[in-house]
């Protein structure tokens, strides 16, 4: 048997530019190669089915992004509107509070209940008898109260000692 046909000779055979040789009729290997070549050419001549154009992909991606942006924007607008409302209420509340505070202050300062009487208000927490000063009388009254109620717990005793210490503290009195 003669030598196998080259790829070029096989191509010429396929296109009919060269007559089929005797070798091709007898050699199953070359016949097989020619068949493969024909099949390849046939497949190459078929119209190609492209899955998606890039433009289409871009369109879908952008649409998705737009939808997402719309959702986020709507949420943000709702949130900002809610925040604006709460700030508005906060302002109203502060104004109302200031108005009430001013009213109470004016009433207490210039109202009839304090203007007509000579009243002293004790600012001292331990001034138990409201005489305007924390002194030994407050300690005495506290001690009597503890005895009367039977409160002998440590906290009560500590509180009593604290008041007593405040009474004799050198920061008290006229000459500080």
């Amino acid at each position: 048997m003669s030598e196998h046909l080259t790829d070029f000779e096989l191509e010429l055979c396929r296109t009919g530019e060269m007559e089929s040789s005797e070798h091709l009729a007898l050699c199953p290997e070359c016949a097989e190669r020619l068949a493969q070549l024909e099949a390849l050419v046939t497949r190459l001549q078929e119209p190609v089915q492209r899955p998606l154009s890039f433009n289409r992909v871009d369109e879908i991606v952008f649409k998705t992004i737009e939808q997402r942006v719309d959702v986020v924007t709507a949420q943000s607008v709702r949130r900002s509107r809610r925040r604006r409302m709460s700030y508005r209420w906060l302002g109203v509340a502060a104004a109302a509070g200031m108005f009430l505070f001013a009213g109470v202050y004016v009433f207490q300062s210039f109202g009839p209940s304090t203007a007509s009487k000579n009243v002293t208000r004790s600012p001292l927490a331990n001034d138990l008898n409201d005489d305007g000063q924390v002194n030994i009388i407050d300690v005495f009254q506290k001690a009597r109260e503890l005895e009367r109620t039977g409160a002998s717990d440590r906290n009560s005793q500590v509180e009593l000692k604290q008041i007593a210490a405040q009474v004799v503290d050198l920061d008290n009195g006229d000459e500080r």
């Binding site: 109203v92 005495f140 009597r144 004799v168 006229d174």
Partner: protein, 162 residues
């Protein structure tokens, strides 16, 4: 909205101070001065016990006085109680007063009171170091009877100079 309600509530509660009223109890503050005898001052340091007396028409369950060195060189070095039952312990005082020129003394007893009349309630030990006499001033601050009602009282100083 909820926060606004809370803010208004807090502000209103802050403004709403109690409207309680109290009449200030009139108390006549009395001052007694004691000047040491210059003859006893010989230019060297000496210890002087200063007895504190209180006098009241009612029994006294609690008293408070203030002692100040008004003039001269003297400092507080110790405090002693009385011999009266219930008041034998030294009265309450601020330890910061030691080695200084001013002290607030206070004592109370809910079971035993100081009988009406004049009694020594404490002794303050002084250290005098100057060449001149020393002026002490004792001021009444407050006193209560055996049930805690304020009472008028007088306070006196007397130095044991000998």
């Amino acid at each position: 909205m909820k926060s606004s309600i809370w803010i208004i509530f807090v502000l209103v509660m802050g403004c709403a101070q109690p409207m309680e009223e109290s009449e200030s109890v009139p108390f006549d503050v009395m001052v007694h001065r004691y000047e040491t005898n210059p003859a006893f001052t010989r230019g060297k340091a000496r210890f002087l016990p200063l007895d504190i007396f209180i006098a009241s028409e009612a029994a006294v369950g609690a008293y408070q006085v203030e002692l100040v060195v008004e003039k001269g060189t003297s400092e507080i070095v110790g405090v002693e109680g009385a011999t009266l039952p219930g008041f034998t312990e030294p009265p309450l005082y601020d330890p910061e007063a030691l080695n200084h020129r001013r002290i607030i003394l206070a004592a109370y007893n809910t079971e035993k009171s100081i009988p009406a009349g004049r009694h020594r309630v404490a002794t303050v030990h002084m250290l005098e170091t100057g060449n001149s006499s020393v002026m002490y001033r004792l001021k009444t601050i407050a006193a209560a009877n055996d049930v805690g009602k304020p009472v008028q009282f007088q306070a006196e100083l007397a130095g044991r100079e000998n």
